[in-house]
Each structure stands twice: as C-alpha cells, then as structure tokens.
Symmetry: none
Subunit: 184 residues, 2 copies
DNA sequence: GATTCTATTTATAACTA
DNA sequence: TTAGTTATAAATAGAAT
C-alpha cells in the first residue's frame, strides 16, 4: 500500500517478506489496542510467523489467557493458569476485579442521579443523605428542576406525598419510562 | 484518522462508537487476512464488542479452534511469565486503571451535560459555573434551547419537534431517553 | 440507524543510507 | 541487514443522504 499497490499474495523475496511481516504485525497489534481504547472492547490477536512455534500475542499472554478463557470453543485453560505463578495470577485477578468494581460504581452513580432527578421531577424533596450522594453540584440543578416541573404540571406537590420512599419504586421499567417520556 | 485526528480515548457518543467499532473491527480482520496471504502466517483475532458474550472471530471458528489449541498446548508459558518483571506487570496494571478512570470521567461529563440540558429544556437558566462546566461549545445551544423551550412549553404538543432538534445537534445527549429505558 | 461520500490521517512498499 | 525517508495506497472520522 504505498509506492505501489501490492497484490495480496505470498511475497517471494524473504527479506522483503520479513520486513513486511514485522511492520504489518506491529500495526495489527496497534490497531487491536486502538480498538480497545476507542470502543472499550476486549480483543486478542495471535500471530504465528512462518514456522514459528510461539505466536506473537496481543495484548499480553496474561490477558490473552483471560480473553481466550471466555471463548466458547476454547476448552478450559485451567492448565495454563497452573503454569502461571500464583502471584501474577492473583495480581491479574485483582486488576480485573477492580475494573469491574469501577464499572459497577460508575453505573450505580449514573442510575442514582437519574433516580433522584426523577424524584425531584415528581415534586419529591431530597433528603440530606440523598443530596450528599449525588454531590453538592447537583443540588441547585435538582431544586430548579423540581420547581419547574411543579409549575408546568400545575399539580400540587401533594400528589406525591412528602414520604421519601419514591426511591424504592425507582429502577424498575415503569418509572424510567416515565422519566424518559417526561424528558424527551 | 480522517476528517480530524482522533484521540485514543473511549468514544462517548454511542452511535459513533458503534460505527467506529464495526469499521475498525472489519479492517482489523482484513489486515489479519492480508498478513496471512502476504507472509504465509497463521493469525487469529478475537474481538469482544462491549458487553458481547461471543467474540467476532478471524479467520473462522474452526480455524480459531485449531490455532488456539496450538497455543493452549504450548509447553511453557511459564517462561513468558518469568521474563515479565513485577515492575512491568504493575505498570501495565496502573496504565489500565488510568484508562478506566479516564473513561469514567468522560461518562460523568456526559451525565452533567445531559442534566444541564434537561434543566435548560425545562426553562431553567444556567449559572456561570454550570455553563463553564459543559463548555463554551454548548453555551449557544443551551441558550437557544432555553429560549425555544420557554416559548414552546406553553404548548405541550410542540415539544416533540424540539426534541428532534436536540437529537440532531447534540450527539450523545439525545441518548438520555434511550439510556433511561435501556438501563431500567 | 445504516450507507455513501470526502477530507485527512495512517499505514506502508519501495527507496536510501 | 536494520533504520530512516517518502510517495502512494488504505483506513477512517465526520458529513451528507
């Protein structure tokens, strides 16, 4: 793909072939990494050079094991794990758990904000604990939203009793649908 | 890598991300094939899309099984593990966590923008601090939205075309309703 | 949302040292 | 042969449809 368009067939010249192999292998790995960064995907690339017994692997052997373990057609890789040092395996595991935890934390936070917004929109007031959870930044916005909703709907807040159990109902399909249609 | 150089960070807009994912996944597979043809190599690529349980596989499931089995039965993966120092391992781990954190920051920013947009759509005005947070780019849009909402909100049925306007101009922000129902 | 269409960025084949 | 350089082919981000 450069000075000349190259046909997709075996490169006869061995030195040219080797140079091409390394260049292309490297950019293949790079692109796998780029894809992971851009789209939060897990990708794994194995490349066996001509006659190589050992493949070049992306992202790393440790990650490859983890990723391949998920692959349906791959028999269990337990024996692999046994060959890894216990320490490294634990570290790998910890890393993944932390990432998972972070992901959950993020999702929970997102859901929480949406729930409290919903509550505010229905005229409910937020207690101190709830406000603290979503952070001081949201306080003004939530209050404004609540007032505004009350005005537009022209329904007395009394329709939503001051009871603070709105949260108990949130998170299910119906309440989020309400939120969606209300906001869209 | 086109109209604009793109940073290697998680793409926040979900539709853009999906499109990018498919394009890049396809070209990744294509390049794996090209490499095989040019250099007579055996390559295998597995790509798990976000949340996908089954990966996209190159060259085929059958070939993948063959190639992966070869990898699985490779004698000593231990050798690799030992060459990887504890330091390298930790650096890799830290890097990953940083990337994760960065992604979360992006998502948080998105949530803020959505929230402030909701506020503007309901007629609330944004204070200087809030405007500064969502960035100068949104300022004009928000103002425009606020004006329109104020005018239109007296006519509830007219809210729909307005929503369309938002969708066409503010990328991921429009995902609010979708996301709300999707995460329910 | 999917496709198609550019404008640009990347990747890279051939060249050069 | 291994590294840079450069001209050209590919890939692709954002826009248009």
């Amino acid at each position: 793909m450069a000075r000349k368009k190259v046909a997709l067939r075996y490169i006869r010249n061995s030195s040219t072939r080797r140079v091409t192999f390394e260049k292309r292998r490297n950019s293949l790995m790079k692109k796998a990494g780029d894809l992971g960064a851009l789209c939060n995907t897990k990708a794994c690339v194995l490349v066996y050079g001509e006659g190589a017994s050992m493949p070049d692997v992306f992202p790393s052997h440790a990650d490859a094991v983890a990723i391949l373990s998920k692959y349906k057609y791959m028999p269990d890789l337990v024996q692999f794990k046994n060959t890894m040092s216990q320490e490294e395996f634990l570290i790998e595991r910890i890393t993944k758990l932390q990432e998972e935890a972070n992901m959950f934390r993020c999702e929970r936070e997102d859901r929480e904000i949406r729930i409290l917004l919903h509550k505010a929109m229905l005229g409910g007031s937020l207690d101190a604990h709830e406000v603290a959870r979503v952070g001081p930044k949201l306080e003004v916005i939530l209050k404004n939203l609540g007032d505004r909703i009350t005005k537009i709907s022209k329904k007395p807040p009394a329709l939503q009793p001051h009871a603070t159990y709105v949260t108990n109902n949130i998170g299910d399909v119906s309440s989020t649908s309400t939120e969606a249609s209300g906001l869209a």
